[in-house]
Amino acid sequence: MNGAPVFTGVGVVAPTGVGTGAHWSAVLAGEGALAPVDRFDVSGYPVGVAGLVRGFDAGACLPGRLVVQTDHWTHMGLAAADLALDDAGADPAELSEFDLGVTTASSSGGTEFGQHEMERLWAQGPGHVTVYQSIAWFYAATTGQISIRHGMRGRCGVLAAEQAGGLDALAAARGDLRDGARLIVTGGTDASLCPYGLVAQITSGLLSPCADADRAYLPFDVRAGGYCPGEGGAMFVLEDPESARARGARAYGRLTGHGATFDPQPDPWPGPPAPSYAPSGEGLWRAVEIALDDAGLAPADIDVVFADASGVPAADRAECRVIRTVFGPRGVPVTAPKTMTGRLYAGGAPLDVASALLAIRDQVIPPTINVTEPADAGIDLVGAVPREARIRHALVLARGHGGFNSAAVLSA
């Protein structure tokens, strides 16, 4: 491959909207999408609000036989992939099947589907568990279903690194293109807003119990106290630049840099939210350095940082320390549009990448909402109003629970 791979298609299924246009309009308008979980009775669960995808009808955009055999998380992934391929004007049937691949990120797999099957197992017996459980639960199900649906038979895979996986999936897709593939569908979605999924997340102790959507998820704020979960994400068509040019595809931008590190944890690990949890941020710093070096850029070349925005105070402090160290005090605009959606796990970083590409296209930094009392004056945090700016290079940060740190550079 000559040069950096290009994003030629973007597909979004997120709490902010189904479709890239709907998502971006909502983001620029600062429309928060956090709301009480209304899928089941959550009274008694220590959770407040979450980022729910509204107006998504799997039956309307996917074949009936596909809908029954896989989870809501895969439904959204399939729909986002369809949107991305359509946006790219790419028809996989017209390309050689082994030149095409799929690499997505997943953090929890087919949680809701699996929960229903476990209910049947215990209430009725093993003979009542659907055979589709065998293909619906595992992390690679979305990759597999996209691959089968579109006949993309080159290298396929999945990255599981919690919220950081979404950036690592893009890097893996870039690797596939370097190895000779022409077009990869990549990105990620996640969905765990069901009883089983929420209970699993509650055990981390990081979910905000606040029921007020305007106060529940306040990363970088003096009042920060955890985060809100969300579902959905984004999928992309990532192509070899010459291949894209040859078919006249429009490019949103390029993936020019990536870095990933892992923080070794002491044993026993106090972990968040223990008071002794005080990450240094060194792992994230190293990931940023690797990504910038990979892109051949200096910190001064970066025009905006899309923050990981944990909402856990100690992790927020570590991220601020990294940003100040690399860019200097108030050295770069920082934003967290995920304040409107919550943290989408494997869909989170891809959604940030989608927003970053649109920021590059429209030369505007999307807002961060509800953070009215910033804790660190050394960070230039974009407020609740979009900020017009010249954007050539954007840095996206993502940290995954357990010690994953990833950074990616997107360029015009």
Binding site: R65, V68, Q69, G127, T130, V131, S134, I135
Partner: protein, 83 residues
């Protein structure tokens, strides 16, 4: 008690779903499941339902050879234990 083609259509639609790419309404008795758009998992899901509804055991190795509706109907109806 007998498994009819109409019963089979109902069960297939109910457990494996249906859509515009597969027309189950026609004369499908001799059409291979694969051509109807129902893969091996869909057939396993279908036989699992039939086992529960009709009390006929359909081992996986037998199911693998029942490649079309007519074959499945013949096997099930030939093994009903008149209850």
């Amino acid at each position: 008690m007998e498994l009819t083609l109409a019963d089979l259509r109902r069960i297939m639609r109910g457990c494996a779903g249906a859509d515009e790419s597969a027309d189950l309404d026609g004369d499908i008795a001799q059409v291979p499941f694969a051509d109807l758009g129902y893969d091996s998992l869909a057939v396993l899901e279908t036989t699992s339902r039939i086992e529960k509804e009709y009390g006929v055991r359909i081992p996986d190795e037998v199911a693998a050879d029942l490649d079309r509706p007519a074959a499945l109907l013949e096997y099930v109806n030939g093994n009903l234990t008149g209850v």
